[in-house]
């Protein structure tokens, strides 16, 4: 009968009208990212890094650029570590290959900017900032 299925369809939408909606109100409610989330920036723990360059070599799209220098003991040291998220495929190969596990994904994914340069991160500077923040919070804790 023409029309019966139309009424069934209307019943579906009417039922939905009174159901709870599923929207997450994004800026107020942050999404649950899960432990295995990949998609933010790369957090590099400089103190653990041995500057082997495996992450750079394993990157499929050349999004990691690191430079090394030799220190007085002829050991390689990190000179600069640039992660270009604009080129990043978020494939996790760099994190997996790291022998000292000094790379982790940060959960900060909202870094859209007005230029491509905003997508390029200096991971060493970010690490310094992080250490600085931690120290500060430690001192405030001690004071408190």
């Amino acid at each position: 009968m023409l029309g019966k299925s139309l009424l069934t369809g209307m019943a579906v939408t009417l039922r939905e009208l009174f159901r709870k909606n599923v929207t997450e109100e994004y800026p107020e409610v942050q999404p649950e990212l899960g432990d295995r989330f990949r998609g933010g920036r790369l957090d590099l723990v400089v103190s653990k890094c041995i500057a082997c360059g495996l992450c750079m070599n394993n990157c499929p799209n050349g999004s990691i650029k690191l430079k090394t220098v030799k220190d007085e003991n002829n050991k390689r040291q990190l000179d600069s570590y640039i992660h270009n998220t604009g080129l990043c495929l978020f494939c996790n190969l760099c994190v997996e290959v790291c022998p000292t596990k000094c790379l982790v994904w940060s959960k900060e994914f909202a870094y859209a900017g007005y230029s491509r340069d905003a997508l390029v991160f200096d991971c060493m500077a970010l690490d310094r900032e992080r250490i600085h923040r931690e120290e500060q919070s430690q001192t405030t804790e001690e004071k408190g």
Binding site: M10, L14, E16, L17
Partner: protein, 360 residues
């Protein structure tokens, strides 16, 4: 006159008694009062458009398990205002190669019949801008000219999508105008008048939706097609012809189309309310309750019924997929039209039989 005087009528009467000594000549007062009525109708159209755009988005949102606009103003009520500001401040782009005057006039021309149709809506007892004795006929005549601006827009845009849309609008609106008119004829036969107020008053006993259910169904379907809403939104046909005649319009010109769409939606709903749902009269109920709700003015009932009809149209829109152009035409001509004609026949026979029964 009604014992509980309608507040709007009181305002009108006060205004008139205030103007009378001021202007002296009763004709001048009449003209001034028409001006006031026109302003009121414009206010209704714009106010309604703001509410309806918001309501449509809310209804769509809730039907799609999302909240709809909820950022600007309380529960998103000011969203349309914000959008309007955006549309007004947008650059007015005139694409190269458009037929300048026709293209410019199309949205304006579209707005005129829409506005004119509002003159005959009986919002409440006595609350009608012009109670023409051919009110319904006037509405149909005026509303049917809506086709022309769509064709103008489609033809003048110098865009093939617009052209297809314009052609579709002519085919569709002409085809569905006929069942629309025929569905109303049954009611006119019952009332014996085209006057809006008489049609409403004739329903004080029983609403015509109960006497003319088939006509109501045909009217709703044809009206959906007339207002270009899903499942008959072939003129716009988003996924096929981008936006049909509106493809090349932007900014304020586009929003006039948008405004007219919602004004039309209100118009067809108001006519449905007037003709089938008893207009400004409260729903049929026992006499005790009738007295209890007597304080509610007629235009509240009218608005409530009209908004129910609008919700129905929105409900259709957010449930159904779209027809194809050939199916649309064959449905209109092969199903709706014969059905409407049969309805007229049955109504005629019914009226005749009723007269015999009464007479005998």
């Amino acid at each position: 006159m009604n014992t509980n005087q309608d507040i709007l009528l009181t305002i009108a009467a006060t205004l008139r008694s205030f103007l009378d000594p001021l202007l002296g000549n009763p004709d001048v007062v009449d003209v001034t009062m028409y001006g006031v009525a026109l302003a009121a109708i414009l206010g209704i159209i714009f106010g309604n458009a703001v509410i309806l755009v918001w309501a449509e988005r809310k209804v769509a949102g809730y039907m799609q398990s999302r909240p709809g606009p909820n950022r600007v103003g309380p529960i998103g009520l000011l969203q349309t205002v914000a959008d309007t500001i955006k549309l007004i401040t947008k650059e007015d782009i005139r694409p190269k190669g458009v037929d300048r005057w026709v293209w410019f006039l199309a949205p304006v021309v579209l707005f005129v019949p829409t506005l004119a149709a509002y003159a005959v809506f009986p919002f409440s007892e006595g609350l009608i801008a012009v109670d023409l004795n051919i009110g319904l006929f006037y509405f149909l005549a005026v509303a049917s000219t809506v086709t022309i601006p769509f064709l103008m827009a489609g033809w003048s845009s110098n865009n093939k999508y617009s052209l297809i849309g314009g052609m579709r609008s002519v085919a569709q609106m002409v085809s569905y105008e006929i069942p629309l008119v025929f569905s109303l004829i049954g009611v006119v036969m019952l009332v014996g008048s085209l006057k809006m107020s008489s049609i409403v008053e004739a329903q004080s006993g029983i609403w015509f939706i109960f006497l003319q259910p088939v006509a109501f169904l045909i009217y709703v379907i044809a009206a959906t097609a007339e207002t270009n809403r899903t499942p008959f939104d072939l003129v716009e046909g988003e996924s096929e012809i981008v936006a049909g005649p509106m493809t090349e319009y932007s900014g304020m010109k586009w929003s006039l189309f948008f405004l007219a769409e919602y004004a039309n939606l209100f118009a067809v709903s108001a006519i449905a309310t007037t003709v089938f749902l008893g207009g400004w009269q409260p729903p049929p109920m026992p006499a005790v309750m009738r007295d209890a709700v007597a304080f509610i003015p007629g235009w509240i009932w009218f608005a409530a019924k009209t908004y129910f009809m609008i919700f129905l149209f929105m409900w259709f829109r957010w449930t159904f997929p779209r027809f194809r152009v050939d199916q649309l035409m064959s449905f209109g001509w092969k199903v709706l039209l014969p059905l409407a004609l049969a309805n007229i026949l049955v109504t005629g026979v019914g009226i005749y039989a009723y007269r015999i029964a009464i007479g005998g």
